[in-house]
Symmetry: C2
Subunit: 111 residues, 2 copies
DNA sequence: AAGTTCAATAACCACCTGGTTTTATACAGC
DNA sequence: GCTGTATAAAACCAGGTGGTTATTGAACTT
């Protein structure tokens, strides 16, 4: 449904993350992408379809080849979403939460 | 396998993202989390199990209640991973890529 | 002790996912 | 017009996911 659904789902697979990493150093064809994976070509094509549906990869045409290129826009959207949680991974907030919890626990013990 | 697998997979579901959003404003019990969703309690419990397995939620004990708390550490790891792509969602790089592609296309046309 | 509340477990279902092998399609070059 | 190459498509399979209802269990309440 949401674009974040597709983006995060696409990123949840290590093969797909490796494909994206490879595409940072430039365009690559399907067979080039498949080579390091010891995995069948159709398997890679399926992964590429997932990445394409998530808008993370676009494909052009070069004779029989279908070169893939990284499209990072959705990654920015994902990062923006995660940014909303940045203040929660700073230690002082974590400690504050735990302190509040301890206090609550003491209340319960007392009465 | 990887912690990123579990993190991104957990984030791929809108219900789970909404649960995390709710937990930003403090601890909540399972029934409290289930209330806004028009979804059965076991369904929410399953989502919480996924979030817990991904290390995004921790649970304490308060009588029959099992209050859930946000654990943002894995979100930082995910953000760090995404950071490696930040230079690709800036327009000038995108344009550079497309320019290189156009040049390559012209070469092909010429020869 | 009996009832109520909060949450987990079990059993089930439809659908999706990640992989396979096999087959088909599209283009290139001799 | 074959042959080889690059990729997609089809059919299949095992296992995971997201949901349900019904049941169980644990802990508070009266």
């Amino acid at each position: 449904m949401s674009v974040l659904d597709d983006t995060f789902a696409a990123l949840a697979d290590p093969t797909r993350r490796a494909i994206l990493a490879r595409l940072r150093s430039g365009e690559a064809t399907v067979t080039e992408l498949a080579r390091p994976f010891n995995m069948s070509q159709p398997a890679i094509s399926k992964h590429l379809r997932v990445l394409e549906r998530a808008g993370l990869v676009s494909r052009s045409r070069d004779a029989q080849r279908r070169p893939c290129r990284l499209q990072a826009g959705p990654l920015k959207a994902a990062t923006d979403w995660l940014e909303g949680y940045s203040r929660f991974w700073e230690d002082r907030y974590q400690n504050l939460d735990e302190l509040l919890d301890e206090l609550k626990g003491e209340e319960a013990d007392d009465g």
